[in-house]
């Protein structure tokens, strides 16, 4: 369990996180969304001990990430948006790195590489950016760390690889692990995440499980101007207006993450009101 209370962080005099509080439970995949500069990458860096909070509390079980104790780092894998790979073969690289991760699974690594169609005997530097990313994702999942942080993991992946990504992530989660995926590509998280977090102006603007979103909100298209006027959020499309409305039907719908994100950003009060009712 990750507990964050009243977290503050600034770059020089520019505040990035201002009183952020959050709890992340094991067994869930969290999607972290937010505008550019909202502090998503900063939050991931603080969670992984790369930045130290200037105020507030942060703990992951018995550890404080900023201390970067090996026992904590063994339970963490951060897949950054930009990464470096050494000029050695994938198999050799994994052979030397894996002993540091006590829950490492070689079978899972080979299986995931195969799913991504990456040969294990090729040098990492000989792969394309997208292939390197898939090799790193395979490694990250095979470490089976308690906390897996991914910053824009689908950047650079082609369309088939994005669906492969969703498949392998969904298959990799176990009850002891927390996966936090930060991304701009909202669509890539569809059918994958359990809970959505939206970060804005240094605080959590929205934090709900997608099951609750399905119960409380309805995402649909309509030509009815009255429905548009009463919607939480709407925008025109070729086939009428796409709307986010309170779900009065009593049936769970399929959340449209992109529309949900826009509604959170543009109409936060009206949206949160739908969840308090």
């Amino acid at each position: 369990m990750i507990n964050i209370k009243n977290l503050h962080f600034s770059y020089r005099h520019k505040p990035v996180l201002a009183g952020l509080s959050l709890g992340l439970k094991p067994g869930y995949i969290y999607g972290l969304l937010g505008k550019n500069g909202a502090g998503k990458s900063t939050l991931l860096k603080i969670l992984s001990g790369l930045l130290f909070p200037q105020k507030g509390e942060l703990s992951y079980g018995p550890w404080r990430p900023g201390q970067r104790k090996p026992s904590f780092l063994q339970q963490l894998y951060l897949l950054p948006e930009e990464f470096h790979v050494p000029p050695i073969r994938i198999g050799e690289w994994a052979k030397h790195q894996s002993p540091f991760y006590p829950r490492w699974s070689q079978q899972q690594f080979i299986r995931t590489l195969t799913e991504f169609d990456i040969p294990p005997d090729i040098r990492l530097t000989e792969l394309s950016y997208g292939q390197q990313k898939k090799a790193l994702i395979s490694f990250a999942l095979s470490t089976n760390t308690g906390l897996l942080l991914m910053d824009e993991p689908t950047n650079g992946l082609d369309i088939p690889s994005k669906s492969q990504f969703r498949k392998v992530i969904a298959g990799a989660l176990d009850q002891g692990s927390t996966i936090l995926i930060s991304t701009h590509q909202v669509k890539d998280l569809e059918n994958l995440i359990d809970r959505i977090l939206v970060l804005d102006e240094g605080r959590i603007l929205f934090d709900q499980p997608l099951t609750t979103v399905s119960q409380k909100l309805r995402f649909h298209q309509s030509f009815d101007p009255a429905e548009l006027a009463s919607a939480i959020y709407g925008e025109p499309s070729l086939r009428g207006n796409v709307l986010v409305t309170p779900n009065d039907t009593g049936e769970d719908g399929q959340p449209d993450l992109e529309m949900l994100y826009k509604a959170i950003i543009h109409q936060p009060e009206r949206l949160n009101a739908a969840f308090t009712n």
């Binding site: 770059y11 094991p26 860096k45 992984s48 001990g49 790369l50 930045l51 130290f52 079980g61 018995p62 970067r68 104790k69 090996p70 026992s71 780092l73 063994q74 339970q75 963490l76 894998y77 951060l78 950054p80 930009e82 990464f83 470096h84 050494p86 000029p87 050695i88 050799e92 690289w93 030397h96 790195q97 002993p99 540091f100 991760y101 006590p102 829950r103 308690g146 002891g176 692990s177």
Partner: protein, 283 residues
């Protein structure tokens, strides 16, 4: 297994984790290191060959001494400055700092490659080049009918006996480790132009040290007192004899001498360790 059950008891240093880190570092960098050693060997061979080809009469113990030390200082400081270069690049720094080893293990791994292994391999490479060059030089001297007593011997770099600056206490060697450690620290502090910036800082530090010895300590002494190193100051009579002397107790002198000659690297490594622990990846 519960996530928190596998927390290891020792979060400071384990030999196994350190050795795994060394193996990983070697696997990732062996090509670069082997190429660097070849480059050092090539440069040493080129300098030695130039020396015996163009000025054979001057090739002696002194040549070996200067080439050995100048080569070691330049290569050692250049390499030392790159030991923590990963931390100057955001991509590498993220991976380095989140890698599951302690700061102490990371420091010892860096010192193992940057200080110990560098020194051993440099000495080996030096001798691999020096011994054949000395043999070649002596063969040329023999051909030119030189007397056997003019033949050059291979220098013992651990004693420097017979060198131009005989120095049995290996002052140059301890100076090398201190300066190299300063460059390792510089590489950690200055992500850009770190070699130049570290050099400027070192010159500035030496200037401050000189200022302290030459100006500040003398300001506390009466007029016409002369200091010699740190350890004694004296004044002369008009005829040039000692009039008065202030001498530090020999125990204190021994302690200061020891600290000055041998302790610099350890203090600098301590600073590196703390710098590693407090390092953040911003931007």
């Amino acid at each position: 297994m519960n996530t928190f059950d596998i927390q290891q008891k020792n979060d400071s240093f384990t030999f196994r984790r350190w050795w795994l880190l060394v193996s990983l570092h070697w696997a990732e960098n062996k090509r670069r290191y082997l190429l660097s050693l070849l480059a050092i060997a090539g440069l040493l061979a080129a300098i030695f060959t130039f020396e015996i080809a163009f000025i054979p009469i001057d090739f002696d113990f002194g040549s070996q001494f200067f080439i050995y030390y100048i080569g070691m200082f330049i290569a050692g400081c250049l390499y030392g400055n790159t030991v923590f270069s990963a931390l100057g690049h955001r991509r590498k720094a993220i991976q380095y700092l989140t890698f599951p080893a302690s700061s102490l293990e990371k420091l010892f791994c860096a010192l193992f490659f940057g200080v110990i292994l560098f020194f051993i391999t440099y000495v080996l490479v030096f001798y691999i080049v020096d011994i054949p060059i000395v043999a070649l030089n002596n063969m040329l001297l023999r051909r030119h009918g030189a007397r056997p007593d003019t033949y050059v011997k291979v220098i013992n770099v651990f004693s420097n006996l017979g060198g131009p600056i005989p120095n049995n206490d290996l002052r140059f060697l301890t100076m090398f480790f201190a300066i190299q450690s300063a460059y390792i620290l510089g590489g950690l502090y200055f992500p850009r132009y770190s070699f130049i910036t570290t050099s400027i800082f070192l010159v500035f530090f030496l200037f401050l040290l000189w200022l302290f010895i030459a100006r500040i300590t003398s300001a506390f002494l009466p007029y016409a007192w002369i200091g010699n190193e740190f350890f004694y100051w004296h004044s002369y009579t008009p005829t040039g004899n000692w009039r008065q002397a202030v001498v530090l107790p020999s125990v204190l002198e021994s302690v200061i001498r020891f600290l000055l000659f041998y302790s610099w690297p350890f203090w600098l490594w301590l600073v590196i360790y703390h710098r590693l622990k407090e390092k953040e990846v911003r931007g």
